[in-house]
């Protein structure tokens, strides 16, 4: 089981996440169980090795205000602390700069775990299923 600290008073729950494709990079992402997919910024996708102009698969997704047609790619792995999922599909979409993050951790990652959010002590637990 992974036990990962977070700031229980923060407006969004932030975590260092490791993205691996051709290389391995760490970006700050927000936990968002309301997002069906994990989303990474264009800068993150480019840095791990995706050529954005060469991506052929696109997915339509909607957020609170509008719909977007965005690229979908498969990372070799995605890790939150020592909780690692191989071959995770992610959407590439850059959130507004005011958010200060490079993506969101969505349900397609979270559903591999039983998750717990302890707001008294600021601890996220991820217990791998199976």
């Amino acid at each position: 089981m992974s036990r990962i600290p977070f700031d229980p008073n923060a407006p969004i729950l932030l975590f260092e996440c490791v993205l691996e494709f051709k290389s391995r990079h760490i970006f700050i992402m927000a936990l968002d169980s309301g997002s069906s997919y994990t989303i990474i910024s264009e800068a993150a996708a480019t840095q791990v090795g995706y050529g954005l102009s060469k991506i052929s698969e696109y997915v339509s997704f909607s957020n609170a205000s509008q719909s977007h047609l965005v690229p979908k790619v498969t990372l070799n792995s995605f890790s939150l602390a020592d909780a690692k999922i191989d071959n995770l599909d992610v959407l590439i979409y850059t959130l507004p700069e005011e958010h200060g993050i490079d993506g969101v951790i969505g349900l397609n990652f979270l559903r591999h775990f039983n998750i717990g959010l302890d707001f008294e002590y600021g601890i996220l637990t991820l217990d791998r299923l199976g």
Binding site: I4, A10, P11, I12, L14, E16, V18, K22, S23, R24, H25, I26, F27, I28, A30, D32, G34, S35, E42, A43, A44, T46, Q47, G49, N63, A64, S79, L80, A81, D82, L95, E97, E98, H99, G100, I101, D102, V104
Partner: protein, 77 residues
């Protein structure tokens, strides 16, 4: 540039986007030691710098050191 304590460097550049090459992480994959490659208050400026160096660095870390989201802003992701 020398290898430095990443959390300490973050404190020196408030409200900026920072990009490090990572040399050491803790057990939760959080960066501990690294070299500051670039910093800017502008995300676009840092994006441009990073895009010119794709494939050069194989383990990096990017963070915005200001409030997330910006003060006074509520977020619906």
């Amino acid at each position: 540039m020398e290898i430095l304590d990443v959390p300490e460097v973050e404190k020196q550049y408030p409200d900026e986007w920072l990009w490090f090459e990572v040399y050491e992480t803790d057990e939760l994959n959080r960066p501990i030691k690294g070299k500051l490659l670039a910093h800017s208050p502008s995300r676009a400026a840092l994006d441009e710098f990073m895009n010119k160096r794709v494939g050069v660095y194989h383990h990096t870390y990017r963070i915005y050191t200001g409030p997330k989201p910006k003060k006074g802003m509520a977020v619906v992701l």
